[in-house]
């Protein structure tokens, strides 16, 4: 172990336990604590408009979902193109309560943390069920299995009267210790809830990766036959991975329901599943902080493209319909460029930047 626990420029690990530490140096821990404190403090100092608070809330929801997707696709190497449907399962768990008990029932308005947790568990059950084919299927075939879940979900929600045939099911405002949450503080309040969920999810996954099961995920991803030979059950590991992904997606879906104060089928389509996959790729598959970078990058890009298209629409003839092309074009282009030039995603830039600062003033 390095003698200086603040600035350890080099590899001083003497045991696996040492290497598995969450924070390598005290400096890392300090910076992280300051960063987290700032995330909690800034909304109190700079009052953002509801529009931007909603955008930030949306990014945080996506981060929770991508943390789940990264477990199954990034860490376990299993492709899933039905992630939005898992989110939908979580959201519709809340909606089911609203349909059965009424949208202002005490369970929805007061016991919301439990309901969010329950949504996560429902997502996990569905995730594990959908993950069962993963015991026998791989690659494209598995992708088709997850796609079929997306289709089944779409059909079920769209046609069952209980789910209002995909139309919006309203969810009431929740209660906090100060009373019923007003519209003015709605996004502000959920920012803090989401932030806590994101931090807890991040730590959960970080710790998970330090466990035997976490190492199993990587082993199965790299070579499931070799993993099998080492005594790991590849099939169960994959099912667990789907279950965990479903759990985080379910949580994200329930949070989406509460933030948007309603559940509608439109928010959980195949298009959303593809977008989440793109977020995971752009952020960096198989890295925890990639789950943070991806949603931030894609959602910011979308917002910028929207503003640019609006601006361009004012200058260019409206018949050109530039905005229709601009968003999907930029979205596709970003994914292709990342796959070509930076397949490890933004997380790799972060790794390079960190290693540079870690070694500073030495370059190598």
């Amino acid at each position: 172990m390095s003698t200086n626990r603040w600035l350890a420029t080099g590899n001083y690990f003497t045991s696996y336990k040492d290497e598995q530490r969450i924070f390598i140096t005290h400096l890392d821990r300090t910076f992280f604590s300051i960063f987290i404190s700032l995330l909690f403090i800034w909304p109190l100092l700079f009052k953002l408009s509801n529009k931007y608070m909603l955008v930030i809330d949306n990014i945080l929801i996506a981060i929770v979902a991508i943390i789940g997707l990264n477990i199954v696709t990034g860490f376990a190497g299993l492709i899933s193109i039905g992630h939005a449907a898992f989110m939908g399962v979580g959201a519709y768990t809340v909606a089911s309560f609203a349909r059965t008990l009424g949208d202002s029932h005490v369970i929805i308005t007061h016991a919301w943390p439990l309901l969010i947790l329950l949504s996560g568990l429902t997502g996990a059950v569905f995730g594990a069920i959908v993950g069962l084919p993963a015991m026998r299927l791989k690659h494209l075939y598995l992708a088709m299995a997850t796609l079929s879940f997306q289709m089944i979900f779409t059909w079920t929600i769209n046609f069952l009267e209980f789910f209002n045939q995909g139309q919006t099911i309203a969810i009431s405002n929740v209660f906090w210790f100060t009373g019923k949450l007003g519209r003015k503080d709605h996004y502000f309040f959920w920012y803090y809830v989401l932030l806590v969920v994101v931090i807890l999810s991040g730590f959960m996954v970080r710790n998970l990766l330090r466990t035997r099961y976490g190492r199993c995920l990587g082993a199965v991803r790299d070579n499931d036959r070799a993993a099998d030979a080492m005594g790991i059950h590849p099939g169960l590991t994959k099912v667990y991975a789907f279950g965990l992904a479903g759990f985080f997606a379910g949580i994200a879906g329930a949070l989406h329901a509460y933030v948007y104060r309603g559940v509608g089928f439109e928010s959980f389509t195949l298009h959303h599943s593809i977008t989440y996959l793109a977020m995971a790729i752009v952020g960096g598959l198989g890295t925890l902080h990639g789950s943070f970078w991806g949603p931030i990058a894609i959602m910011t890009l979308e917002l910028q493209m929207e503003s640019f298209a609006e601006y361009a629409g004012r200058i260019l003839p409206s018949d050109w319909n530039l905005a229709t092309a601009l968003k999907p074009l930029s979205f596709g282009l970003v994914i292709v460029l990342f796959l070509m030039f930076e397949p490890r995603g933004i997380a790799n830039w972060w790794r390079i930047a960190r290693s540079y600062t870690k070694l500073w003033p030495f370059r190598y």
Partner: protein, 418 residues
């Protein structure tokens, strides 16, 4: 002498001070006057200018934009101006919600929305913010548990019931067999239950089947199946494109009735978003004898509405397709209603607030009904009636153009099933 000098200087300084203060006061009064004279009223509109259903949303946005420009250019509100921020949501509810929040931050007094899903999704926010809203979705469900949502024209349910009533009145030889061809969404399904209620309430018609269409490019099998089941009429509640596909297939199969209710053939009818010039352009000759109902006057018929609409479109450089679109009329009409309530509130000396505009909307009935030129009847609202134009007009395609069939009417069964 020295005192005299001081006295003169003091008088000069005092005079200068008083005059300059007076000027400042005058300037302030002038500013206040100007401020009092020229107010800017903010409105927000969010609709699908691009993406799905933008064929309807784009001309609608242009209609609203042009009318608001016209109001400002013609000084219809005196020195006051209307500032309507028109945003594209690409038919995504999440974008609509974000734009809506932005509009609220800007302090809008009136909101114009678009799709059924986004209207339903925003319902709670609209109610809590108490902001008068007119959506371009005419779904009757928008009005359930909503005080501040006002449909511009008759609901889809009223339109479909109107078509059903027309079928029953003009059908000869027993109970007409009808199929409903609807979009697989809240928008499409909206009138199905109400038409069934009308049948249960005594409308002598048999609904053989309700077809929720997908993205099929060929409807041969479906049409043959319907024909085999003896379906004589189809009521469509969807957008133009699937209707055009179906009409082309029906035309190829020789199933389209040449006269209303022709035996052994199918008469195709549709609600507001199924018809218009776009349908004729998409379906070509296959659109012939398609029956369509809406509350709007159309530009393929001469009238003061056509002249007015085309004049506005010309003034703001719109092409012929946009100028003649009934969705362009829809945009104009929504803007007209918003402008009218502001005008009325101003005339009463009220401060232009959401509440004042809401009150004006509720008072828009009886002798206070509003007559926009582009619709076939007056816009009336009250505490119990939140659908604007109750009157409908039936049109049919004749020689490649929609032409009026009969007089404007109000469906009877909409009241009976309430």
């Amino acid at each position: 002498m020295k005192n005299m000098k001081w006295l003169v200087l003091s008088v000069f300084v005092a005079t200068f001070f008083i005059v300059s203060c007076g000027q400042k006061e005058e300037a302030k009064v002038e500013e206040k006057k100007e401020a009092a004279e020229a107010m800017v009223y903010k409105l927000g509109m969010c609709l699908a200018i691009t993406g799905p259903t933008s064929d309807a949303g784009d001309p609608m946005s242009k209609g609203a934009k042009d009318y608001f420009r016209y109001v400002n250019d013609m000084k219809l509100l005196g020195e006051d101006k209307l500032e309507c921020d028109i945003r594209d949501d690409q038919y995504k509810t999440e974008n609509t919600k974000r734009n809506f929040e932005d509009f609220l931050d800007q302090g809008i007094v009136f909101y114009l929305n678009y799709s059924t899903d986004s209207t339903q999704s925003l319902k709670k926010d609209i109610e809590e913010e108490k902001i008068p809203t007119t959506p371009a979705s005419y779904h009757a469900g928008n009005l359930v548990d909503a005080d501040y949502i006002f449909l511009p024209i008759a609901s889809y349910s009223a339109q479909a019931i109107g078509l059903a009533e027309y079928i029953v009145k003009n059908h000869t030889g027993g109970t007409p067999k009808v199929a409903m061809y609807v979009h697989s969404s809240a928008f499409g399904r909206a009138p199905v239950a109400d038409v069934k209620k009308a049948v249960a309430a005594g409308l002598d018609m048999e609904i053989v089947v309700v077809v929720e269409h997908g993205k099929d490019l060929d409807n041969t099998a479906m049409l043959k199946r319907l024909s085999k089941k003896g379906v004589q009429y189809i009521i469509c509640q969807t957008t133009q494109s699937p209707v055009a596909t179906m009409l082309k297939d029906a035309s190829r199969l020789g199933l389209v009735a040449k006269t209303f209710g022709e035996k052994g053939k199918i008469t195709f009818t549709g609600c507001h978003y199924t018809g218009g010039n776009d349908l004729v352009a998409l379906a070509g000759p296959a659109a012939e004898n398609f029956y369509w109902t809406t509350s709007f006057n159309i530009t393929s018929e001469p009238g003061v509405w056509t002249d007015a609409q085309l004049a506005i479109a010309k003034q703001y450089g719109r092409n012929e397709k946009t100028a003649k679109s009934h969705n362009y009329s829809g945009g104009i009409m929504m803007a007209q209603v918003a402008t009218e309530v502001i005008l009325r509130a101003k005339a009463r000396g009220k401060k232009i607030t959401r509440e004042a505009l809401y009150d004006e909307l509720l008072a828009m009935n009886g002798v206070n009904a509003f007559y926009p030129v582009v619709t076939v009847g007056p816009v009336t609202y009250s505490k119990t009636d939140k659908a604007g134009v109750d009157t409908l007009q039936l049109y049919a395609v004749k020689n490649g153009e929609f032409k009026s069939v009969g007089k404007p009417f109000i469906p009877e069964y909409t009241g009976k099933i309430k």
